[in-house]
């Protein structure tokens, strides 16, 4: 088990940009001997310390807990101090491109303007809302099961990887984003918290809220702490339904239509799901796609929709778990 240390030659293409002096970004090509012990942050340090002192990036703790050093390697979001070089080489080969998390927000080299990230963070009331006894004689009693209900959302280190990998954040500047949603869940799931109403109002808002998530799972994929933000987003969907706060819109109807289909057939009726979500008029714009799907056998005519052979059991399950009224 005393593994020896191995070395290989790697070519790095490094994104360079200085807001003060550069009109456009450019790339430096640097060749380096990389050892099997190194992580991506070691490479950033070596670029700065051995090649060009002006190369800049954020970093602090160097062991995956402060969240400062998120960048992209060959387009994949990574926390630089936690990503082994050997894994990167195995994944992408011996030519690696180092870029900031979001090139359009680049200020200098790997450093981006994260203002939008922190603004969204603050929007979800990211603190326990409860009267704080300043001189307590005892603690709240919280059972281990209640403590586990946070589902490790408290492990989020605000590195921004999920936020800047989210396709909705990219095109919708109102969208609060997966990191802030995970934070909202962290407090909504806390038995000590009294701020659920406020947070639900924020995360249920059309455009900004959880209903604009496209369920691509990019946030879960990229998270270096396995916080799994989309799991928390789904839990927030449920909280909204359970409280009866769901607004009647495409996204919520999509969820409800899904449930209706399962209740009726025990299977998903894709065609009816779109009609239910979009309404009888809205559905017309999907006709060209529907025709293609029909040709491929992905959707069937309503009277041909099959039923699950365990439909009775499924309907019992649906009945015992459903809360929505429309």
């Amino acid at each position: 088990m005393d593994n020896s240390i191995t070395t290989q030659t790697i070519t790095f293409k490094v994104f360079r940009f200085n807001q003060e002096t550069d009109y456009l970004p450019y790339y430096n090509t640097i060749e380096m001997e990389v050892t099997s012990e190194e992580v991506v942050l070691d490479i950033l340090n070596r670029i700065k310390w051995e090649h060009d002192g002006s190369f800049s990036y954020r970093r602090s703790c160097r062991h995956g807990i402060c969240g400062a050093c998120a960048i992209k390697v060959n387009g994949k979001g990574v926390l630089a101090c936690k990503e082994r070089m050997n894994d990167m080489i195995e994944l992408f080969g011996k030519e690696l491109t180092l870029e900031p998390l979001s090139t359009k927000r680049a200020i200098k080299d790997m450093i981006i303007d994260k203002e939008d990230f922190w603004v969204k963070h603050e929007e979800v009331e990211p603190f326990l809302i409860s009267h704080v006894d300043e001189h307590p004689e005892d603690e709240h009693i919280v059972t281990p099961q209640e403590a586990e209900a946070l589902l490790d959302s408290d492990l989020c280190i605000q590195c921004g990887l999920c936020h800047y990998s989210c396709p909705v954040v990219e095109i919708n500047e109102d969208y609060i984003g997966p990191a802030a949603f995970a934070k909202a869940f962290r407090f909504n799931a806390d038995v000590r918290d009294e701020g659920v109403d406020k947070r639900i109002e924020v995360i249920n808002a059309p455009g900004a809220g959880v209903w604009d998530c496209v369920k691509c799972f990019e946030c879960a994929e990229v998270c270096p702490k396995e916080v799994n933000p989309i799991e928390k987003i789904t839990k927030l969907h449920n909280q909204v339904f359970e409280r009866g706060d769901a607004l009647n819109n495409v996204a919520t109807r999509h969820a409800v239509g899904f449930a209706h289909s399962i209740k009726k057939h025990g299977l998903l009726d894709e065609g009816e799901l779109v009609r239910y979500s979009e309404g009888n008029i809205g559905v017309i714009k999907h006709v060209p796609v529907a025709l293609k799907m029909f040709k491929k056998g992905k959707i069937v005519l309503p009277w041909n929709m099959p039923k699950s052979d365990k439909l009775d059991e499924i309907q019992k399950l649906v009945k015992s778990s459903s809360t929505v009224k429309f």
Partner: protein, 571 residues
Amino acid sequence: MSIPIHTYDVVIVGAGLAGSTAARELEKAGKNVAVITKLHPLRSHSGAAQGGINAALSDEDSIELHEFDTVKGSDYLADQDVVELMCKEAPKTIRWAERMGAAFSRNKDGKIAQRPFGGQSSPRACYAKDRTGLTLLQTVYEQALRAGVKFWDEWYAADIIYKDGKVSGVVAFNIRNMEKAIFNAKAVMFATGGYARSFKINSNAHANTGDGLSIVARHGLPLEDMEFVQFHPSGLSGNGVLISEAARGEGGKLINSKGERFMDKYAPNKMELASRDVVSRAIMNEIREGRGVGPRKDAVYIDLTHLGKDLIMERLPELRDLAITFLGLDMIHEPILISATAHYSMGGIPVDIDGHARKNNSEFVEGFYAAGETSCSSVHGANRLGANSVLEALFFGRHVGQSILKDLDSLTLREADESDADTMIKEIETTLTRNGKYTVPELREKLQQSMTDNAGAFRTEELLAKQVKIVKDLRKQFHKGCRIDDKSKIFNTDLQEAIELGHMLDYSLFIVESALARKESRGAHFREDFDTRDDKNFLKHTMAYMDEDGEITLDYMDVTLGKHELKERTY
């Protein structure tokens, strides 16, 4: 070019546990507070604390026992009045953090869970899995934010305004664009962290360069007990990243190349859970006597495989992840490689029990306070016990915040003047324009390597004298000819690293000069040429001062003793 002057009641430098806690306390009392930090607050190094935070909560434990363990752990150098205060307030402090939202692990009955830690008579470390610091940092930051504290993040505090025995503000620049500003205040508090980064193998964050210490020292103010640097037994082999004491607390065994559980030679009673300095020296001794393991034979094994997957995943998931990332070893299936790593700074800015910074043994600096690792109160003496540092930062952060609040009415605002920024402007100009053959990484590497070689866990007269000369030479090289590549205004991290190196060089001289003069072994300070504690000559705090030529003079200050009488320290 004119420099804006921002006026506050209180300015705090550092946004970790101590800084954010103090800020919240003052903001809640209606005071106008600013916190300056060179990172985002959530990046502060408090968040890296893993294993726990001490408080005598259980019926089997007692405040007196916590005091005794702390005093004994300190090798009797701790000031006992300060220890008493901290231990007494610890249960309330932890429950207060819990009330603010900290996500502690729980017992079946729903109370805060506790685990054993080194040097303690009872399972006393309250924990949140193995990310205790993270939940506490998040909690105090979140509640400070909720209270409305103004954070100036990514601003670099470069100087204090100190004249006529009084501090009246901080001079800083915006790392984003080099915008400069003066923060004028009635009171200033430093919570700027420790100085273990001056060693090559260390557990500290890159940002943990201890700038606050030399900012103070350059004004001729003293630094206390700087020779006491804690070497933590379990840093990952190669890079020194910390594997929490929780690994030993949960039952980890230390094994050498011969397969021996060697702690029975060094601490037959407490074994792996002896005090940190004892375990670190044991590990380093095994390695230097040829019983090391790993590709460089510079480590020993810590074996946790007997704990089983479930317990490791429940209580040590982050630690497992770290060993996989940095060593490629999974502690569930195999032992991992560790060695001692420079970890914690017992010394720092001398303060009294209420955080007032000392001008000398008998006088205080008006309007200046410190708390957390950067301060020396001295609650840890010559060696800190595991899970006492997070407690110190959290408790004293709040306590010093309250102390400032009490003093504030009697403190007057001395109006700042643009010329107060002259020292900082000169430092920036010099750093940007200085030409020469030395680079920052080169000088820093020389400093860190030589500090590890000559001022580490085993020290001698010869090595320390050599190191004094090395540090003085490095300081000369730095001031005469250290150049940087980056001349731009946007995130000039090259400039920042140069300024930080200047600080590291200055306080390193305090470390070695203080260590050279302390001809005894006490706690973390171990002299092979004086290998026993000498209470007759050295039961006292070092107070070191630097003059304008960079020469250090030493003075000593009495230790506040108390009910825990001096004894030989065995584990």
